[in-house]
Amino acid sequence: MGVAIVLALLAAVLLGPAGALLDRLQWIERVPKTGVLLWQALGLAGALSAIGAGLAVGVVRYHAGFFPGVSELAHDILRGRILTGLGVPEAVGLTLAVDAAIVLVSVMTVTTIRVVRTRARHRHLLDLVALDSRYGHGTVTLEDARATAYYIPGLRPRIVVSTGAVQILNDDEVAAVLAHERGHAQERHGLVLLPLSAAGEVLRWVPYMRRAPKAVASLLEFAADDYAARHASRRLLASALIRMATALAPPPCAFGVAPALVPRRVERLLHTVNRSRHLATLGCGLAGLLVALPIVIALAA
């Protein structure tokens, strides 16, 4: 029972206050990809701890430690003997755990399908409507006076710029914008975002899920900026950002709107210190530790 309590506490910390802590770490903005890895590690470690806590309750009756207990539980399930000798609390716990898992998996699946379908429909319409672009394969131009540029992730990703954007940017700035979008495509940022927003759909009440999608989205923008900075000029990307972010009428004022990401991105492009190998190593080490923590606790039981 001890290990169940420890793992439950660990899950509560990892999926609760730990996210606020990670959100406050300034240095991960310098190594955004490592930052994304840290967020993923935090979520994975939290999930492992929560699942582990549930399993630990379920295997108490085997009196055999965590992993041997789990393997006996698996044997019992395979032999169809799961409910024999189950006390009321164990049965209730098990049912709740199974229900939660089913809800989580099905909502994530439904959300993923919806997102993939919306993307496919958008891409299909783009392929019919957009003008052939002189910017190369996978990049199309939409004829519209409003300035916008975006990236549609997926197996067949598309980069879109509106003619309005091309009008307010000079050629080098357009190249910088496209380099940024290619960064998203090259580093497969869509694959990182999709599960996070799908899980966020069901787990809104988990503090981690309220922070992670936004934090990770910001880090992915930084990562794409860094990619673009390697292929185009930082200054031009910064000026393109400013022109694009100020081209359209500002959104109606709303309370509680977080400060926009663009000023931070501009600041970062103009003044950032080079990415530090030490910070990246530190971040990866930290991510490894996070995931190892629940596993070690379960092993020690």
């Binding site: 939409l142 940024h180 000023p263």
Partner: protein, 130 residues
């Protein structure tokens, strides 16, 4: 699959370029000499099923026209790209969000400084003291 998409696009372009004048399959096929009549028919039917194309009966032949002009679809895509739908973040990733009026003011003044030509850019130009 990719070639079918390209053909759909060409067919739509033909229909868009003759507004108010629905075309028969043969009229469309004549403009696409590298594609068989039946292929063109298949593509038109596909587009009709997707709601992009309307089919009207004209004597013994069918005539096809675009359901809506091109800019209607462009506007729909732009709407999807610009609005902040709940899923929009996962569906597409925008280059830059529009900032608030006060943030825009700060950014615009920063842009002025940015546009000062950096000295290392043009080796031929006279260097300014700084």
């Amino acid at each position: 699959m990719a070639r079918l998409g390209e053909l759909e696009r060409k067919v739509m372009e033909l229909l868009w370029s003759s507004p108010g004048e629905p075309l028969t399959v043969r009229e469309v096929a004549v403009e696409l000499p590298h594609h068989a009549y039946t292929t063109v028919l298949t593509v038109l039917d596909r587009l009709a099923r997707k709601g992009m194309v309307e089919r009207t009966k004209d004597g013994r032949a069918h005539r096809y026209s675009a359901t809506a002009p091109r800019d209607v679809y462009t506007a729909e895509l732009m709407r999807e790209a610009l609005r902040g739908a709940p899923d929009s973040h996962a569906v597409l990733v925008k280059f830059a969000e529009t900032v608030t009026a006060s943030e825009a003011e700060v950014l615009r003044s920063a842009l002025g400084g940015l546009l000062e030509p950096p000295t290392e850019k043009k080796p031929g130009s006279p260097k300014t003291a700084g």
